[in-house]
């Protein structure tokens, strides 16, 4: 098994899930996964360690998602996105929490995903997102507050 296949098998889902949490769209997320691994294939030699590889992949995913959201035509196809989003949501059972998280603005959604799903600590998230630690803490806190309102304190966040 070559290195690329190994990395795609190990981190493909991680990249895909982060892209979904950023873009809320499975088709765009698949495109992002493709672009991330093309970038990885072109920069394979430059990545030093396993931990570096993981954060590098997350960083590249976030940057590509950001670029995608900034595209003119992406900004102007909200209604289509919403339809896709609905179709996507329907395919998963008991997705109240997932829907609530995906409904948050992107600036809260990504730190929450990295913190609660990827189990990164605040300083690591700050490094990946290129923001200050205090900013990340405040984004997490505000995100949690918003989730509480939506979920009506049905669940405890830990």
């Amino acid at each position: 098994m070559d290195k690329l296949t190994e990395v795609v098998n190990k981190y493909g889902n991680m990249v895909y899930r982060l892209a979904i949490s950023y873009l809320k769209n499975t088709h765009d997320a698949q495109d992002i996964v493709q672009e991330v691994f093309i970038k990885y294939y072109n920069n394979e030699g430059k990545i030093q360690s396993e931990e570096h590889l993981k954060s590098w992949l997350l960083r590249v995913t976030i940057n590509l998602c950001k670029n995608k959201l900034m595209l003119f035509w992406h900004k102007n196809v909200c209604s289509i996105d919403e339809i896709k989003e609905q179709a996507y949501s329907d395919s998963y059972e008991d997705n109240t929490v997932l829907e609530a998280v995906l409904a948050l603005p992107v600036k809260y959604r990504v730190p929450i995903h990295l913190y609660y799903y990827e189990n990164y600590k605040t300083p690591e998230i700050a490094k990946i997102l290129g923001k200050g630690e205090s900013t990340v803490r405040s984004l997490l806190s505000r995100g949690r507050e918003k989730l509480k309102v939506v979920l009506k304190e049905e669940y405890d966040f830990e």
Partner: protein, 313 residues
């Protein structure tokens, strides 16, 4: 069940199929991104060509009179063998003057941002093209007046054509100077001083005319909400940006990867500085709902950048 577990469970159910993974691996190996890059470049070129064509039509309107007078000019120039050395000399002098003007404007342009450089350069080139043709025509007209004591019918026609041509060109220059289309395309609005800039941007923050030995020379507002001041000390240029924001963001526009990224506390505000080895090129901070960035072209020592930030807080 706690929310994070629910979220994890829901996220775990999202995964790529084996088929999708194989496709990703195959495409990565084929480097299919080349295709997308080419498509993007082609799209950009088409847009540029369309915009350029539209501008050309606006600046140089095609009128039947212009074509007819042009043909007369060509005929007259061929017939007339009275173009003297004096005319050639004066044309050369004008050409060298336009060259000097070009060099000066290029030097001036180096102080501007890349986007604005392209914008300015295009405008200067168009203006020069028109003014060179205009002065050429004026010389031709003068030569005909001085060398032909008894103008023939052809010469009369030639002079009439020059007058008409000059009118068209002068109108052309007016429309270039007006430049309604080019001006709307630029997101920057320039001002003459810091005070004027402050009046036009709703940001309550320090915007000094001078920082240490750096003197301000350019003041602009981009996208109606980001103030931008450029300073120079003769050997280095710095760019100071301010923008209101709910959260801290990097507004420097410098997305290079730097080896050294450090956090400093200046006047109890956390400042992130980025650079290579012992020089730092970018500093960003967030204070009282305003994002700040300071970028140096040459790079600064940590003490120098700290002193500059101190002046701005």
């Amino acid at each position: 069940m706690i929310l994070s577990d629910k979220y994890k469970k829901a996220m775990d159910s999202i995964s790529l199929t084996e088929e999708q993974k194989q496709k990703i691996i195959q495409n990565a190996k084929k480097k299919k991104f080349d295709y997308r890059v080419i498509v993007n470049i082609a799209a950009c070129l088409v847009v540029i060509a369309v915009v350029y064509g539209a501008l050309q039509n606006k600046i140089e309107p095609d009128s039947p009179n212009k074509y007819s007078t042009d043909s007369v000019v060509v005929e007259t120039t061929e017939k007339s063998s009275e173009i003297t050395t004096e005319k050639e000399e004066s044309t050369q002098a004008i050409e060298s003057t336009t060259e000097i003007t070009t060099i000066k404007s290029v030097e001036k342009n180096t102080e501007m941002t890349t986007a604005r450089k392209i914008y300015e350069k295009n405008a200067v080139e168009k203006r020069e093209k028109s003014s060179t043709t205009l002065t050429d025509n004026k010389i031709k007209k003068k030569d005909v007046e001085t060398t032909t004591e008894n103008p023939t019918q052809v010469d009369k026609l030639y002079m009439t054509s020059l007058n008409e041509d000059n009118e068209v060109l002068e109108q052309g220059i007016d429309s270039i100077e007006g430049e309604p289309m080019l001006k709307t395309a630029s997101p920057y609005v320039d001002y003459n001083s810091v005070d004027e800039l402050k009046e036009n941007v709703n940001i309550n923050a320090k915007m000094p005319d001078k920082i240490k030995n750096y003197k301000s020379y350019s003041y602009s507002v981009a996208f109606s909400n980001m103030a931008e001041i450029q300073y120079s000390n003769g050997s280095d240029n710095i760019l100071y940006r301010l923008e209101k924001g709910e959260v801290a963001e990097d507004i420097s526009g410098d997305y290079n990867n730097y080896e050294n990224i450090q956090k400093l506390i200046v006047n109890s505000t956390e400042v992130t500085i980025k650079g290579n080895e012992d020089t730092y090129k970018v500093a960003i901070w967030y204070k009282n709902g305003v994002n700040y960035s300071l970028s140096s072209e040459q790079g600064l020592k940590i003490e120098d950048i700290q002193n500059l930030i101190n002046e701005l807080m």
